[in-house]
Subunit: 105 residues, 2 copies
DNA sequence: TATATAAGCAACCGTTCGGTTTCGCAAAAA
DNA sequence: TTTTTGCGAAACCGAACGGTTGCTTATATA
């Protein structure tokens, strides 16, 4: 059961949960109210997000507040880095092409 | 069979394929040589990558060259944007804290 | 023409996924 | 103390996933 951040964000519900708790910590029940699923389903998603440390818990009495571990998102950002260089090159080439077309017109 | 770029990059083999063909187009056989799987397995991955337009084909005789559709990667980058703002705020707060500790020392 | 090769496609198999239902536990409220 | 509430864990189910094997089609080569 090797959890991986890319697998974690593959599910649209989990991505929505991450967005939801990005700015404020929330309990599983509160989170579940925003979706058409049961609390248990949300709980499962939270477990997966916890396993790859995308989310952290804070216990308050019998309530558990979940919040985003935003630094972990940087792993995706770092993976994207290799492609960012390429799409900037392609953008510049397009730019040169447009320039060329302009001078020829 | 809802294909989605996030689901496409969830698989480590597919991520490796994307990196492999990022700089040069390759045929399925050539790609498969880089992994411990059969050509058919790679072919399946390429089909999934094609379905969400992360990859484009170029036919040359009986060979098919696959290459990266790098602009599509920006969708992930755009999704990350919402979190980028947050981690920069947190970074700045850490920065302020370090500054504070320095002046107090 | 006959043969070899590149590649896609379909069928099948075991595993994982996302969800529900049921249960147990601990904290708060009655 | 008893009841309610918030939560996670386990068992189960259908669907999807990743992979293999076998087949067909199309191009290149003898």
């Amino acid at each position: 059961m090797r959890r991986d951040i890319f697998q974690a964000i593959a599910d649209p519900t989990r991505r929505a949960i991450l967005t939801l708790i990005a700015l404020q910590a929330m309990t599983p029940n509160a989170i579940a109210e925003n979706f058409n699923t049961t609390r248990q389903a949300v709980s499962k998603h939270l477990r997966i997000l916890s396993e790859c440390e995308l989310v952290k818990q804070e216990h308050q009495g019998r309530e558990i507040y979940y919040s985003l571990e935003v630094y972990k998102m940087k792993e995706v950002d770092q993976w994207l880095e290799q492609f960012r260089a390429i799409w900037e090159i392609q953008f510049n080439q397009l730019d040169e092409l447009l320039e060329k077309m302009k001078t020829q017109a």
